[in-house]
């Protein structure tokens, strides 16, 4: 045992701060810290703006393609069954990549820069940080979805009104589609955050998240084995499709029921984060 001893001077630290009873971590404080982190980065604003822009533009494109559908005799009857809200939410898939990247970057950005050590030095219990990040991400995703849906609603209105498809705001079907969109986007964002916390690397996390969220359903659809089709139906994008329709036309095929969709999407959101929370405490920062 090597001991370094010295007479400690009797002066106390001249603190110009309130006592420790007032200055200590609280969940509200950690939340505020996460908020400042997010809003003080330009990349956040880019991700949010591009999400809203992409969703709105794709919705507009979907609405404009309605005229092409009416010209095509095989597709024309489909318009009768369509719900305007489905057209408006048509851009949702395309908002997923940016939201997923934002979710992953929320934590991998800290590992990449080393900021995570400052973060965990301030909040050594760590779990509140993940909780605050998740909550911040939910709020942010909700806000950007709301903005995107509003924008999409208004830009598609001229086209939709031609076909009498402007969704009525007192129609439960409209809110079902918008609610399902919001639910699925939030689930995708949280899934990415969980993956990011587990993998820590931005490249690896974004790759995994986007593969699971977007790439796999398309690639696996070329395989027509029964069990592969079953797996595909449980992947986030197909699993969420029941939530993105009014329920009238959307339950055909290998799609899950609404209830199963809600549960599967919740699992995508919760399971990676829960596993990450357990390991977060044990792993070296």
């Amino acid at each position: 045992m090597s001991t370094l001893t010295a007479e400690p001077p009797m002066t106390s630290p001249t603190a110009n701060l309130p006592a420790a009873t007032q200055v200590h971590p609280t969940f509200a404080g950690v939340m505020r810290g996460e908020w400042i982190k997010l809003l003080s980065l330009r990349s956040t604003w880019w991700a949010l703006a591009s999400t809203a822009a992409v969703i709105t533009l794709v919705a507009l494109a979907a609405a404009m393609s309605l005229s092409a559908m009416t010209d095509d005799p095989t597709l024309a009857p489909g318009i009768e069954q369509m719900h305007g809200a489905e057209v408006i939410a048509g851009g949702f898939h395309f908002g997923m990549p940016t939201i997923a990247v934002l979710g992953a970057l929320l934590i991998t950005g800290e590992y990449a820069t080393g900021m995570i050590r400052s973060t965990f030095a301030a909040v050594p219990t760590r779990i509140p940080v993940l909780g605050a990040k998740a909550l911040t991400l939910v709020v942010l995703t909700a806000a950007v979805t709301l903005v995107s849906a509003t924008l999409s609603y208004f830009v598609t209105m001229p086209q939709l009104s031609q076909y009498d498809l402007v969704p009525a705001l007192d129609d439960p079907g409209t809110w079902r589609v918008f609610g399902g969109t919001l639910y699925s986007l939030i689930a995708a964002a949280l899934f990415s955050l969980g993956i990011g916390t587990l993998l820590r690397s931005t490249a690896a996390s974004v790759t995994v998240a986007l593969t699971v969220l977007l790439l796999l359903p398309g690639t696996l659809s070329f395989i027509s084995l029964d069990w592969v089709e079953t797996i595909v139906s449980y992947l986030p994008l197909p699993a969420s499709s029941a939530l993105l329709t009014t329920g009238a036309a959307g339950t055909q095929g290998a799609y899950l029921s609404t209830q199963a969709s809600l549960i599967v999407m919740a699992a995508y959101a919760v399971v990676p984060i829960a596993v990450a929370a357990v390991t977060l405490h044990r792993r070296d920062a």
């Binding site: 200055v23 030095a121 050594p124």
Partner: protein
């Protein structure tokens, strides 16, 4: 107060820190000295609870860091000046940390002023020089007005004015009764800044104590004598445990005895002395000797390592 007990950390098969036990007392500046890869940063991360020890314990002010109610009030740490998101401004970076502890924004402005960052506080950190980043890191460490400060290579990259400032700052903080623990491999810097030293090599403590104790424990003391009767004096001094070399005619380097004893012997033999000076080893020499041992302990016969070893033997 930092207390480590049998602290060990292994990363895979590599032992970074091996059964470290030490106490860092409040009211002092304690220097943590060691070559690159000796385990300084690992030890600091273990203190901060960022890495979990493989075995052993370390506490700050009586508790493991993570169990304090107000961590930033207990310990302020600068572990890596570049560990800041480059896209964020210095002020935003400090505000994110302050927010977690409900520390007021006025305190953020205060530490920005204290560290001389006022002109750059709203600039993005990505464009900061290493010296500026160090100042930001120190600002972050001071944010909670902590009782204990842990600074990993704080003067690295600072200009002379900045070095002077850090030196004065840590002295002032220690004088206020705080515990200051800072690492460096700038030995000359340590001799001017630190009261106490903890020397680490290959993950083990190889020396500890006050700066002078560490130097003495390693280099002993040599006495330089100049005399027209050098040959006679050498003969008179030659007893067990005394080694005498003659770097030039009329000059002797005597080790293993004191200047008083040399003077006495000269007086008894009636020999004239022109110079009699105890020669203190510098911290730098002590450090080289100490870490040379640490390198030898590792017993890896590589050509790169043999160079400092020879240097050490020449002393």
């Amino acid at each position: 107060m930092i207390e480590a007990h049998e602290l060990t950390k292994r990363y895979g098969g590599k032992t970074a820190v091996h059964t470290l036990s030490f106490t860092i007392a409040p009211g002092t500046v304690t220097g943590f000295l060691g070559p690159n890869g000796a385990g300084k940063s690992t030890t600091m991360r273990l203190i901060m609870g960022l890495d979990r020890p493989t075995s052993g314990t370390v506490t700050v002010n009586g508790k493991p860091y993570g169990q304090h109610r107000s961590p930033l009030r207990e310990v302020g740490a600068l572990l890596d000046a570049k560990a800041v998101h480059p896209g964020r401004s210095a002020r935003s970076h400090l505000r994110t940390m302050a927010a977690t502890h409900n520390i007021k924004t006025s305190r953020v402005s205060e530490v920005i002023e204290m560290t001389g960052l006022a002109g750059a506080a709203s600039k993005r950190v990505g464009g900061f020089s290493l010296g500026m980043s160090q100042r930001l890191g120190i600002a972050a460490a001071l944010l909670g007005d902590p009782r204990t400060l842990i600074l990993d290579e704080p003067v690295n990259g600072l200009d002379p004015e900045g070095v002077q400032w850090v030196r004065q700052l840590v002295r002032d903080l220690a004088a206020e009764g705080r515990t200051v623990f800072l690492s460096s491999h700038l030995m000359s810097e340590m001799s001017q800044t630190a009261d106490q030293l903890l020397v680490i090599g290959r993950g083990r403590i190889i020396a500890a104590g006050s700066v002078q104790q560490v130097i003495d424990s390693v280099a002993g003391g040599a006495v330089r004598v100049r005399s027209p009767h050098a040959g006679e004096l050498a003969a008179a001094l030659a007893t067990d445990g005394v080694t005498i070399t003659s770097p030039e005619a009329g000059m002797l380097e005597v080790s293993g005895t004191t200047a008083e004893h040399v003077g006495e012997v000269a007086f008894h033999h009636g020999l004239l002395l022109c110079e009699l000076s105890p020669r203190r080893a510098s911290l730098e020499e002590a450090y080289m000797n100490l870490t040379q041992d640490a390198v030898e302990y590792r017993s890896e016969p590589t050509t790169a390592r043999s160079a400092p070893a020879q240097k050490g033997q020449n002393r």
